[in-house]
Amino acid sequence: MTKRLLLLALLMLGASPAWAEHPAECRVAENLAETSFRLPRVTRALAVKRLTVLVVGAGSSQLPGSGGGANAYPARLQQVLAQQLPGVDVKVTTDVKAKRTATEMVKTLPALLNAAKPALLVWQTGTVDAMLSVDPDQFSQALDNGINAAHSAGADVVLINAQYSPRTESMIALGTYAEDMRWVALQHEVPLFDRFSIMRLWSDLGTFDLYSATKKLDIAERVHDCIGRLLADFVIAAAKPEEPPVNGSR
């Protein structure tokens, strides 16, 4: 009996520790939030118990309204990271402004990296470039430049792609830009947080109704909450120091 309990406890430990605490609606998509690439600079930052994250994004990294800042995913990310990483001094700074293309974000990036000295850059982009049909080459180039700038400033990078937006899907051609992001991420061996697929799964399964026309913020806030949580798990998992698995616990 004791043995069995012990085994159960071990199994639960083996699963990601964050796992049990997230609302079920977030966990629906957790299989999509994984990567085979590592974040070595974050690993080192965790070793010295101090993690600074810089979130750079456009309009889909914020929520409207007075409480918008506190409920958008960057703020949620900070909270969940702090919870999951006890003893680590977690700081998340943001540079979020609507209607910015990747190229525009890259322009201010060096100064931001210099000021914040983050171990991790979380970079959300792609939507505005697709809406303006920016030259895809220029978009890839901007991604390259941004990733290089972050790496040379000592920061790892996580890319976040566009939101899944069913109503405007027939009007914004995300395809090329989503693919470019995936390819640039692969080339630089940078983890890509696939927000699009995650939100699409939520929509397909009916977890969140992303079709509804509403002025209310409740669903938007829950979506951002889940994104923040999954993103935190994603970062922590990719920053785990690589070691041989403990026998039998997984």
Binding site: S36, T127, S133, R167, T168, D204
Partner: protein, 386 residues
Amino acid sequence: MAPVSTERDLRLDLFRGIALWLIFLDHIPSNAVSWITIRNYGFSDATEIFVFISGYTAAFVYGRAMQQHGFIVSSARVLKRAWQIYVAHVFLLAIYLAEIAYVSNSFDNPLYTEEMGVLDFLKNPDVTILQALLLKFKPVNMDILPLYILLLAWFPPMLWLLLRAPSTALLSSASLYALMWLFDWNLPAYPNGTWAFNPFAWQLLFVFGAWCALGGAQNLSRWIHSKAVVGLAFAYLLFAFSITMTWYFPRLAGFVPKFVGDAIYPIDKTNLDVLRIMHFLALAVITVAFVPRDWPALKSWIFWPAIVCGQHSLETFCMGVFLSFAAHFVFTEVSNRVLTQVVVSFLGIAIMVAIAALISWYRQAERRGGGPRPPAARPGYAGGDL
């Protein structure tokens, strides 16, 4: 060089019909059924098939017209066809604008404040509509017809050259493709960027199709049927399939060696990447190897729905674009459950088949009824419509 055969090659109609169905399925946003389409299992997609076969039939039909009636008359016919496609494009555009205007009036969601900015162009419709008529403003998924219009408008001199010096013609088309890569040529689009299907690139596939129709395919047939080529084609398709799978399963991405990734990415659709051409060629080689021209099943009822769509491709294509708007409308307004998506997808294909069958029946009835037009002047008969 002359068109090699007068008998209709049903394989062309069949695969163009299938390509039209796949384009329809791919054009419905977030359609679960689009998982079956070929773009998910390799580098190329239905667009390559459509452009290649369109080039093939254009050469077949207008090549004969050019030999019988001369350059001027046949050129006029090609341009008339381009004009028809232009009118069809503008018609689809009107439907699109209606849809977008509806969405902008009925949709509001704090999650999507950024995305709603895409409707800003409605604020100055004068400029937008003018740019659309100039083929510079092209909404999502409405890029193929403008490409087709341009390819046809430029086809008469190319056809003239193809009939006289086919190798020179193909070579000049390939050179244009190479120059495009070298100098980044493309046409400007409105409000930003360039054409999503670069005509300087995609013309290669169109001309290659035309070249095949005018005897090139026969010259190549010894190669196409050799075991080594078929084997290579299989190997390449397998390679493309494995690479594609790493896009959907991020865990597999680690298995792609870095030098492979560096060599192949990005796979450029706008400029018709060489990897995409090779993928299309591999598919074509395997199709030709395993589906003989006189395969009896081509005349059976199983393939009739696809064949009849392929024979009336402009109408079917336009219907497909319209139906994909309608399907998206159903998903947003009624239901987006997977079952709905499946039903809507198959219903859409059924409507496309019904319309194509109706047109086919009407043409035959018209012909039998002995309309005012002398039947010999019909260019569309031998190779099907464009």
